[in-house]
Structures are given as structure tokens and as C-alpha cells.
Symmetry: C2
Subunit: 257 residues, 2 copies
Amino acid sequence: MPAKLSAGYGTMTLTAKPIQHHYAYHQIAEEIQAQILRGDLKPGDQLPGEAELGVMFGVTRSTVREGLRQLESDGLVHRPSPRRLEVTVPQADQLTTRAGRAMALMKVTFRELWEVTMVTEPLAARLAAQHATAEEIEQLQHLHADLLASEGQMARTIALDEQFHTRIADMGKNRVLGLAREPIALLLFRGFAKIAPFAPQFYKRQIEAHSNIIAAFRDGDSERAEKWARMHIEDFWRGAQLAGLEDAIALSPRAVT
Amino acid sequence: MPAKLSAGYGTMTLTAKPIQHHYAYHQIAEEIQAQILRGDLKPGDQLPGEAELGVMFGVTRSTVREGLRQLESDGLVHRPSPRRLEVTVPQADQLTTRAGRAMALMKVTFRELWEVTMVTEPLAARLAAQHATAEEIEQLQHLHADLLASEGQMARTIALDEQFHTRIADMGKNRVLGLAREPIALLLFRGFAKIAPFAPQFYKRQIEAHSNIIAAFRDGDSERAEKWARMHIEDFWRGAQLAGLEDAIALSPRAVT
DNA sequence: TTATGCCTTATTGTCGGACACTAAATGCAA
DNA sequence: TTGCATTTAGTGTCCGACAATAAGGCATAA
């Protein structure tokens, strides 16, 4: 994306895309990536060895390797074993990790996370109510039971709560929503650890909300599912307010490693 | 994330996290990343040269380089010039690119994009109405004028429309929303190119919606801004329906390169 | 036959050294 | 001080090499 630079010259805006170098390793990564995006290389395809790639591109193995390292961390290729190098579609958890890291480094606040979560979770619940299968609802019920059983074990409770919400998002069968909400929900819910001590009574409210959401799923009542999800997240916010965390920074270094 | 393997043995479920190797280059990337996340290295800090890093970690320069390439494409470090290697916070457009690529490769449908956009854009509008400065609204007005002037030039119209929405999101001062919606909006709006030919009359509706949104901003009326944003996106959907694109795959190879 | 263990071989991960090129630091002139 | 020339350190790329080992082939056992 071109960098925009607006100096005080009227409404003039100079956009200049930074000139890109032509480093060999970069070109190699670029070229292979292009072939993947173009569909010439499909997920699952195996790539030639490093040496062979070297001769194909007319560079040394060292150079090829640097390019591959980039593609690798881009998630476009991966090595099931050191010997196999195959094309793959970027994994969701990888994107989640990156986004989470970025948000942590940007020092986003709980408010920012919450504002977005306020729309994503209700949407997830609504979609789930529309698309969930009986079996999925059953599984969710199990998860809920586990969560009930985890009372007192903070870490476990949080992990299960995260899972609960992620599961709901998955039930909605919308991969875009799944991708978008995951890193956000992760950071936000993880903050629950800081809130919980301030508000023991919220635990019960959370449980109640979960129950009602599940019930709404059973009835295929998307309106109700959405409403309870919204209340659920609102509740969360009240907890954050009590804890005075509204504009606190939601960093979670461990959300990554 | 551990791979789950449930063979037909009752309800037994074996979970096994794939063992991870400890390649030197990977460890180096890992270590530096950890120091960044931990805050030992702050954005802007300059890192030692490759050779020096080599001796510090007790490996060859080649090995260091491979590690750096990873960090580089993770966006945690970058080179303003080949000589400077400094810590940086991941840039939004980098994440956008990633996510966009991933969604394209996942072959997400317009429906999936739209369902999410239906909640993100209204939220963006509401937040913008609350936080926008007079100057920002002024700039948005200019952008709108440019958009009006671009009638007929499909590519330009789309680009400006994208900008219009992104600008609104920025005005809401919520970086999380900005990060989450950008790749989605990009893919969706870019699909407008396919819709437009089917629905010339929609152009006017879009313009009208934009005008109303700006007006709502002027009045600081977040409700109205949100409502118009929602209608705006709904309109878009109707266009998609006319074009029969609801479950079409929204790939955008060029969204990347 | 199928399955199991062994062996060979192709590749990887890492190393060390080398060299051209150039950005940045340095010194010098104005 | 500012502007220019010069040195220098560090990057991008290449070459060659070697231990370790996963993959595939082969032989043996069940």
C-alpha cells in the first residue's frame, strides 16, 4: 500500500509507493507465491528440493532457503517433515497468532476489543442458531458442563470459555467471522482473568447466559440466541468497568508463544 | 493446536501435539521475537548486524539470516535500508494482505463476507459519529466528492469506495475494528466490480447512502449513521443477489500483489 | 500374501569463507 | 557550520562441504 504524505499544501496528497528492491530471495518468494495464488500450485502440491529450485531460479541454495523461510512463515508452504516441502493454505491459528501479536504490540485497550466483540459474538450466536446441527449443540452442551465443573480453576475456566465461544462461531459456518473474531476474543476473554477476582457474582451470570444461548440453539431461535449473546458480552463489560479496566491495555504476551 | 484423532474406539480421543524441532534458525527467530514481545526490545530499537548476532547466538551468519527472514515476514523487524535492521510493530496492511490471501485461498463466499460486513460497517459508522473531528468529516466529504466525480470509471470508483469505508473505520478510533474489517471489506467491495454491471441504479443509492452517513456524522447522530451504514450494506447485498453472487467465491488474486 | 526391519541415498540443516556493492560514518574542504 | 570526497563496515549473494536423517527400496519374517 502506498504511503500517504500530506504536507500543508492545500489538499494536495502525494502518494508514492515505496520502490521495491529486487533481492533474489525476495523475488523467489514472490514468484512462488504468485504461482500459488494464481492456482498453478495447489495446496498439497509438493515442491522440488532446494537444490533443484536453485538451478531453476538460477541462484544458490542459500538464497532459495531465505526465500522459502519467508513463504514458510507466510504460511503458504510448510514442511510436514524436513524432507517434504508442500504448498498449503494458511492456517487459521497462524493468522490468529499474528493478529494477536500485532494487537498486543499496538497496545489496544479493552474498550477497543469489547466494542468489536459486542458485534461479533451476537452475530456468531445468530448464525449458529441458524446452522447448528443437533450433534454440535450436544457437544456444546458437554463443553458447558465441563465449564461448570471447572469452577474455581481460573485458568481452566478461561480456556473453556474461550472454547465455548469459538465453538459457537464455528457452528455458524462462517469462516470469515471465525478468522476475524478469534484473535480479538482471545485477548478479551483472557482479560477475564483480571476481572474475575473483582466480580465473583459474574460467574453465575455467565453460566446463565451460556445456558440460555444453548437453549436458544435448541429452539433454532436466532433472535434469542443473539440477544443472550449480547447480554453476555455486556455483562462482561460491566465486569471490566468494576475492575477499572476499560481503557487498560490488553496485552497478553503469552497469547502468542 | 494439537491434532485430534478419533478412531472408532468408543469415545476415546487421542490428542497428540506434533513434536516441534528446534532448528537453530527457528530458535533465533523465536528468541528475538520473545524479547520483542516481552518488551526487552522496543519498536525502533536497532538490532546488531548479522555477523554479530551470529556470534551472540553461536551460529553462522547464514543461519541468522534465515531466522531474520522469518521475523521480517512476520513484520516484527524491518529494514528501512539494507543497513538498518530495526524492531517494528506489525503494519496493518501486512496483516490485511495475509488475511486476504488466506480468505482467497479458503475460497470464502460473498455471503460469508457480507454477513460479517453487515455488523462491522454499521459499527464503524457509529463509532465514527461519536469520535470524528470536524476536520475528518471535511476530508470525508472531499473523498465523497471525488467519488462522485469518478462515475463511469469502475476501477477508480471501487478504489474510492474502499477508501471511503476505511476512512470511516479510522474515524472511529478503534484499531481492532480497523484491523478486523479491512481485509473483509477489501474482498467484498472489490466484488462490486462484478455486481455493478447488473445494477446501474445501485450507484445512485450508494451515493445517497454515503451522503446520509456524512450528514449523520455532522450531527453527531450515531444512531442514524449506523442505520444508513446498515442500509448501505444491505443494498450491496441486493446487488449481489441480482448478480447471483451470493454463494460465489470471492477470490481476488490481485488483492495481494 | 502382508508386515517388519535394515540399508542406501537423496536432502536437509548448518557451517565457513569469499566477494562485490553500497549505505553510513568519517574526514576534509569551503 | 555546510558540502563533498573517502573510508568502512555490513549486506546480498555465491561456493563448497559435511553430518544427520527421512524416504524409499530391499530383504526377511510372519
